[in-house]
Every structure is written in C-alpha cells, then in structure tokens.
Symmetry: C2
Amino acid sequence: MKLGPVLMLALLAAASGAAEPPSNAGHQPPIQTVTPPAPAGTPPASVQWLYGSGEAVGASMTAYRAFQNYAVAAVRHRPRDSVVLASDATLRTPRFVPCGRKPLAVVLDVDETALLNIGYEYDQAAQKRSYNPERWSDWERTGLPDTETVPGVFLALRAIRAAGIKVIFISNRSLENVAYTELALDRAYLGPARHLKELFVEGDAPGGSAKDPRRALIASRYCVVAMAGDQLGDFTDLFNSNGDSPPARRSMAKGLHISQLWGNGWFVLPNPVYGTGVKGNFYDVFPSDRWTDTVGGQ
Amino acid sequence: MKLGPVLMLALLAAASGAAEPPSNAGHQPPIQTVTPPAPAGTPPASVQWLYGSGEAVGASMTAYRAFQNYAVAAVRHRPRDSVVLASDATLRTPRFVPCGRKPLAVVLDVDETALLNIGYEYDQAAQKRSYNPERWSDWERTGLPDTETVPGVFLALRAIRAAGIKVIFISNRSLENVAYTELALDRAYLGPARHLKELFVEGDAPGGSAKDPRRALIASRYCVVAMAGDQLGDFTDLFNSNGDSPPARRSMAKGLHISQLWGNGWFVLPNPVYGTGVKGNFYDVFPSDRWTDTVGGQ
C-alpha cells in the first residue's frame, strides 16, 4: 500500500504532539509534498524488477503466503523447537533453541522485507549515488511518505496475529531514529512495533549489525515458529562468519541441512538491489559454466 | 545441480545414437570442455543476485517448497477447478477451467523456472551483448553442460510425481530444437519431458509465444492444481494483453482477485535478469515516491 497524503497528515499530527511522537521531533525535516521530475534513462534491471514489476509482486506474495501458512499451522501443531539456531549450532550441524512453553512468535526484518524503501532507491538510482550513512539516516527520519509495504506482508501479518502469534521485527535501522521506525511500521499498518517489545534495532543487543544476539534474546522469550528476511543474515550470522565469497555462500545456502529450512521455517523475500546477495566479479558469480556461442557478433 | 563432465559424456553418447538422440543431430556443435577466462569488472546486480547469491537460492527454494506443499495437498483435497483461467475470464472476474474427473497435473515454465541458463547469461553479461535469436538458438542446442537447475525444483518435482501428479512444462523454446530441450530437462533429472506429452513449446498450439492456448489444451486433459513461472505470462496472457505499462501490470498483479492466487495456486520464481518484469523508465518504475534527501553530495 501507498502511504499517501492522508498518512503524511497523520505523520505531521503525530510529530506535532499526538499519541506517539518521535522522540527527536526537533530534527523533523519539512514534509515533501511535491513529487520531483525524474531524469531520462532507465533504472538498473534489479530496480526495475523489484520496485516496478508485477513479477516482483507475485514473487513477494508467493513468499508471504507460504510464511503465513507455515506460521499459522504451528498453532495446531506446536513445534518442539524454535527456527532460531542455538548458540552452538553450525551450518552442518544445525541445532535449534527449544520452545518449552514459551508463547509463539514470528520474526521478520524490516527493509525490503516489510517496507519497500522506494523513495530512497529512487534517489540512489536517479542520482547514481552509492550508499551514504548520513543520507540513509535522513531517509529513516523523512522517508515515511515515500515508503510502501512489501506486497503480501500486510495480510500475512494480520492473519498471523489473528492466530494468536506475536510479530517481532529485527532491523539494522539505528537506535537514534527508532521512534521514526516505530512510526513507519505503525503507519504502514504493520504494527504494533514498539521498541524492545516488537522491534529490535542495531544496538539493542551486543554484536552490532549481527542479528544472532537479538534472535537469541527473542528466542529466550518466545517460540519462534518462522522467520522472514531478504538477506541470509536475517536467518543466521553463520552465513557471514568468514567474509565468504559468493560461491561459498551459495554452497552454504544449498547445504544438505540448511536447504531443508527454506520455505520450511525460513522464508526469503527477493532483493536483487542491495546487500550481501549483490556481490562478486565474473569469477565469483560464474565460477564455471562460462559458455561462449558459435555465432559471434553483438 | 551442475551438469558436469559425466553428463557431457552422456550427451555425447545420446547424440551419437543412444536412446533419445536429438532429431537434428547433424547440427551438433563441438562440446566445450574448456572454461574460458572471464573479463574484469562485475556483472549487473540482477545477475550477481540470481546466478551468484545464496539469497537467490533461499528465495527460489522458498517458492518451490510452497509449490510442492500446495500441489501435494491437492491429492487429499481434490479441487473443483484447475488454476488455469477459463477462456472467458478477466483479471477482475477470474473464472477457472473445471477439473471434472481429469487426472491431476502441475504446469511450469522452463527457463529461469526449471533451468538456470547460467552459461548464456554469462555470455550476455561478459560480452555486454543484448538478446539475439540466433545466439539463443545456439544456446538451446549447446547449452546443456553450462545449465544448472533452479534451486528447489528437483526435490519439488520428485515429491509431486511421487504423490501421483503429472508434471508438464510449457516453454517458449523453439519447436526446431525441441529434442535438445527434452534432453536438457531429462539430463537435469527433471524429466520425463517428452514433446507433446510433458513438454509444450512455441508452435505446439496457436498463439505464438502466448501460452493461454497451450494452457487450455493441458487443462482440457488435466486438473491443473498449481503453476510455476518467472514471468506473469506463465500464468495468464491477460497480463500482456495491452502492452501495458509497468505500473499498470503491477496494479494488475496486486488486484483484489489476482492477488489471492500468488502462493495459492500460482507460484512466482524470482527473475530480475530479463523479461516483462525488467522494463520501464524512471516514471514507470517510480510513478510517485520520488524522494530526494536533504543531505546532498554523492
């Protein structure tokens, strides 16, 4: 869904003293009400696909329908273990945190999993800019009107909550801007997302951007029945343990034990635009299979 | 899985007179046994992600696990209708072909749904080439050793067949090269894929590249319980009826009725590299939500 003018007004109301104002409202920038003209040319293929295509709508909804079905089924058949790996697990010997009698929860990432950062990615593509932490922080504070939800997430979370399952977000958005992130999720109808209750950001547990400590914290309180994310690090930091090359990471994801988890507790949303999946030179991406034709020409 | 040297030998054996030789074996080019050196630089983000990342493995397996679960469940709860739209359906008033007492089947696309055309996309990216039908035809004939399977498809099809469900492929590969396509699917352990039995290519029914006539043919013989593809045209040609703009196609995919089908009979594999999902200028991809920052700089 689009967070349009009505929500912009709601944001203004909130920022000016209503129910849940951002704590650092003094930094509140002017709300943009004019859509600027776009440059000539075309965005990269990955951006065209993720933000502009019906195909990406179908792919995201395919993943979210599976996430919802899997989570809701856990209410009838309560699992013995969380889908969060135990601290002594490896990718070859996965072990999971036991559920005990803890209440059920699902855990999901925010950016390009729950929220599509359309305005930010427009700016990067249109201005041919690379990532800049100051600009990203600006986006966390001002991006709400130009944010949409990932197709399928709203209905999935509604069904999951209706089944009595807690919904918890883990994001690497900043602690400084956490009130804005709470508001963004709430105004996108994906909340409640209260900090340290249903929303954990970078700095809420040790480990920096690594999410295992936050997952461990949540799995100590909840039986986590499903997780969703667009990066392998949204499932376990073991994928990121050695600065591994793309072919090594691809092999890890295809491994005998880990491959059982995709669509079966761990649900991946497609994101070809940024992150650990968008790496590598020609040797990394095509370690073999380097065909050439017999036709020639362009 | 990788179709390595052993399969290359199998291909050679087949092409030289064994069980299922390609009918046009006279065109057989030399089998490549040397992997050529790659150029400097990096492939586009979409190519890095789809062919090189663990994230794409997880996303594809997420979709295939859902496809498998959905199809196999239809054996216990036989549906009244196929998931193939009836000839008088529209996207706003979807109606489906009745199942009657027909046997169960699933229908899926081939390229970037069942097979990853890694070698071909390497060549396109490395040589900065655009699509060329003569080169693609060369690939259909010689690409087998540099083809891999989409992660998840092998186990999904095995489980679906074990449940007693027929697996049928619809591809826009050429009629001329159909024996090579049969062989490619067979050697990837995705067969049987015999022409006009489990494999329908362009020209097997009227309509050219449009797939509705082939879907109608299959739905007249089978109760189609699930379909998988990477392009919206793998589900219905109605998405392609008007040369629609990217925002119009995205709206169609999100429509009230059609959105119920994603992950619920229609399963989308991610493909940000080519096709109808990779279109549009900045106005198409970002019809609104064109944020700019307050930071400036690069």
